[in-house]
């Protein structure tokens, strides 16, 4: 059964990808959607078996490479953490598949799109069922690759191209960290198998290793490296720049990748590696602080964005920050719970936004919307549900998970927890503000849209509305039903050892924080709502006046703290410059570049003259070879002379 969960989407991909043209659009849709839905059904069954029944499995798929110390087997690790992710991934993916049938109905490349979606789902499943780091890395990279394909799906849009490449490159930087972490783990533990590593962690903790003459704590180093990987995938502060741009992709893709699945891979990674992170206090503090910074940073930027999808994207970024600081204070259960509920309401918001965009003939700018409440009432209701869940209205899913996250931050004594708590409260206020701002600008007031477009606006077809309804149900009820299991009394039996906590369970303490603390998030939410109401319903002129008054701050926020410009200046251009420099000047320069140090001044001046009189290239090439030989011989003699 577990193999079926993982491989059904792959099958769907293969059929739609290879024979998509032959079997036609409809058949491709049916095959991929059907296989993912079936997989989702099985995942729910698995959820009952594993999470509620208390069973865990390790299922071998195949024996793989064996070379010296290297032994890789391909196996599925099924425990509670895995099945929670399985349910989230397959369920949201299935709904997105269904939704896409309606949303992409005008696109000529349907089979390709559905094939990519299924491939993405498969990669994600590979990731969450990984039994060892290497397998996880496969899934990790597979997810990156398919998201690249999906973001750039509309390849005729230059912006989509740029966004796809950006997502890929930024992710590569994160992957670089992950790869280094993987190598370091292999170096320390001699294996990549998760359970073996976890068992060995207590023995290794506290030891250090030498690198380039410096001594590093082993566990902290490994965990920090892994966290860099997690930051890349989960768009944390510093490596977040790709996420908002990725909104150039089709909206179902945004919902699947950038709300429910791929971006949560980083959260999953840290939770999965909780036995390692627990022994790495520095890394945990870093997680908490980065999470806090991201939460507040993304929220501030979200305040002023005008693109409906970008607002939600920054909101995602901010919510991921919440999850990370929960992880950072060892409240893994709370983080995963927030991941779980967030998947519902954020996918709902994205898909709802998709429905709005669909209704508005592909308009994404909120300044050209307004008053849509009457035209698309169904979508409006869904969006309201998503928004109250996101802002944490009592009783909704977001209320349970987000408040728990904030309370754990308060209760914790770990480094960075106070900071995270304060950031969390402020971010909650802003979340409420920008969410309601989005609602008011889109659905309320007088319309600013084109008369013709506005008149044409209509609710989406059933294939799009049904997924919305399912997600809305989840957004409303997931908290009530599951909070006891994830973070309540039943949590020990539920997690069944798949999360590891060293010392006291922080969630215990979080249940006993002062009532004021429990009230704070609600107050923040209410304040945010009232502010938004004041700004966008009662005094619509106020935002403009404020923006003018604080034009510097406004521009700073609107331009996302100038991160793109900074990176362009710091990394992108220099890399090109190095390449160009080496290329244009390399021939002559290499000669002096390799020159011995003591006479470098002389060499430089000579080489400069030599370059001015470059007559024949062969001459230079031969000389470079000679220099190479001299260098090697000198090195050798210096070494053996010392010996």
């Amino acid at each position: 059964m577990y193999k079926a969960i993982v491989f059904l989407p792959l099958m769907g991909f293969l059929i739609a990808g290879l024979f998509g043209r032959a079997i036609g659009t409809r058949a491709s849709q049916v095959v991929t959607t059907g296989s993912v839905l079936l997989s989702a059904l099985l995942s729910i069954v698995a959820f009952f078996d594993v999470a509620l029944g208390g069973n865990t499995y390790s299922i071998a798929v195949m024996q793989w490479v064996q070379s010296g110390d290297l032994v890789f087997d391909w196996a599925l690790k099924i425990d509670t953490l895995t099945v929670v992710m399985l349910v989230v991934v397959t369920l949201v993916s299935g709904l997105v598949h269904v939704y896409s049938i309606g949303y992409m109905s005008h696109d000529p490349h349907n089979p390709r799109f559905f094939a990519y979606l299924s491939l993405f789902t498969f990669s994600m499943l590979m990731l969450v069922t990984a039994d060892n780091f290497l397998q996880m890395f496969f899934g990790w990279e597979g997810v990156g690759l398919t998201s690249y394909l999906l973001i750039g799906f509309w390849y005729k849009r230059p912006a989509a191209n740029a966004a796809a490449i950006k997502a890929f490159i930024v992710n590569r930087i994160g992957d670089f960290g992950f790869a280094l972490g993987l190598f370091a783990t292999f170096m320390v533990f001699g294996t990549v198998h998760l359970d073996t590593i976890f068992a060995a962690v207590p023995d290794v903790a506290g030891s250090s290793f030498l690198f380039l003459g410096y001594s590093f704590d082993v566990m902290n180093t490994i965990c920090l490296l892994l966290f860099v990987g997690a930051m890349g995938k989960s768009a944390q502060f510093g490596l977040h720049t790709w996420l908002p741009d990725a909104m150039e992709g089709p909206t179902p893709v945004s919902a699947l990748i950038h709300a429910a699945t791929m971006v949560t891979a980083g959260v999953f990674l840290v939770a999965r590696c909780s036995p390692m992170f627990e022994y790495a206090p520095v890394a945990l503090a870093a997680v908490a602080i980065v999470g806090g910074v991201t939460a507040i940073f993304a929220a501030t930027v979200g305040l002023v964005q005008n693109d409906i999808k970008r607002v939600i994207a920054y909101s995602t970024c901010s919510q991921l920050g919440y999850m990370f600081f929960a992880l950072g204070v060892s409240a893994y259960g709370a983080a995963i719970f927030h991941l779980f509920t967030h998947a519902f309401f954020k996918a709902l918001l994205f898909l709802g936004a998709g429905a709005v965009i669909h209704a508005m003939s592909d308009e994404q700018d909120m300044r050209k919307m307004g008053g849509l409440r009457k035209m698309i009432p169904g979508t409006y209701i869904m969006m309201v549900i998503g928004t109250i869940a996101l802002t944490g209205f009592p009783g909704t899913a977001g209320f349970f998970s987000k408040d728990m996250v904030i309370e754990t931050a308060y209760a914790s004594t770990a480094t960075g927890s106070e900071f995270a708590f304060v950031m969390g409260i402020f971010a909650a206020l802003m979340t409420s503000f920008y969410s309601w701002r989005l609602m008011f600008m889109t659905f309320h007031g007088h319309t600013r849209a084109d008369e013709a477009v506005f008149r044409k606006a209509h609710d989406a077809p059933a294939s799009m509305m049904i997924p919305l309804a399912v997600l809305a149900t989840g957004a409303l009820l997931a908290g009530v039903f599951f909070s006891d299991l994830f973070i309540g009394e039943g949590r020990d039996g539920f997690w069944n050892g798949s999360l590891f906590i060293l010392g006291d369970d922080i969630i215990d303490a979080a249940h006993h924080v002062p009532f004021v603390v429990k009230l704070l998030p609600f107050i923040a939410m209410l304040t945010g709502f009232l502010l938004a109401y004041q700004f966008y319903i009662r005094r619509p002129a106020m935002p403009g006046a404020l923006a003018k008054r604080f034009s510097g701050l406004y521009a700073f926020l609107l331009n996302k703290w100038y991160f793109d410009e900074l990176y362009d200046f710091l990394f992108v251009r220099p890399a090109f410059r190095i390449g160009r420099f080496l290329w244009k000047r390399g021939d002559g320069r290499i000669i002096d570049g390799f020159g011995p140090d003591g006479i470098s001044a002389l060499v430089l001046s000579v080489a400069r003259r030599a370059r001015a009189l470059q007559s024949g290239y062969v001459y230079h090439y031969a000389f470079a070879m000679l220099v190479g030989v001299v260098l090697l011989v000198t090195y050798l003699l210096a070494m053996s002379g010392g010996a």
Binding site: I591, D592, G595, P596, I599, L602, V603, V606, A607, R609, A610, L613, S615, F623, L626, V627, V629, V630, V633, T634, L637
Partner: protein, 203 residues
Amino acid sequence: MIAALSFYLFATVTLLAGLMVILSRNPVHSVLFLILAFFSAAALFVLLGAEFLAMVLIIVYVGAVAVLFLFVVMMLDIDYVQLREGFAQYMPIGGIIGLMLLAELIMVATARMVDPPIGLGSGPAIPDADAVTNTEALGRLLYTDYIYAFQTAGLVLLVAMIGAIVLTHRKRPGVKRQVIADQISRTAKDAIEVVKVKSGEGI
């Protein structure tokens, strides 16, 4: 005594001639010095009792290779002034690298004194010079012990030949060639026509 004296004489000449090959301004002189170096090297071979090698050196290298060089050098029109133009500019950096290499190689050469080759004598046994002639010993080496290398060298030369033909040979139109088959198959009937010419009329 005489042998030692001749050795030093020929060795000195070989070295000096070698030096002059690279130092002389006129390339024709260079080739001539090269020939001198070959001759004195051949004399050194004779001193070692390797008369076959000595003769081969003179016949092949002096008789064929060096003369060919001479022809090529004389036929090519190379502007040596232009070639040397960049010399001054390259001299310092080139000189430094060259000197470093030289110093290192001297270090290596001095190591020779204290470290005799330990694997010597592991190759094919050297035959007794009285029992077999020079030529026969060489033949045995080439055609038995090193037949593989010998054949490979042959292939290398073949490839060189193919290369030369591929890169330079062209079929030129309008060149008359001898076609032996045509010549042989010609009969008198094709070639000769007997014409009776009446006197006083012309053809």
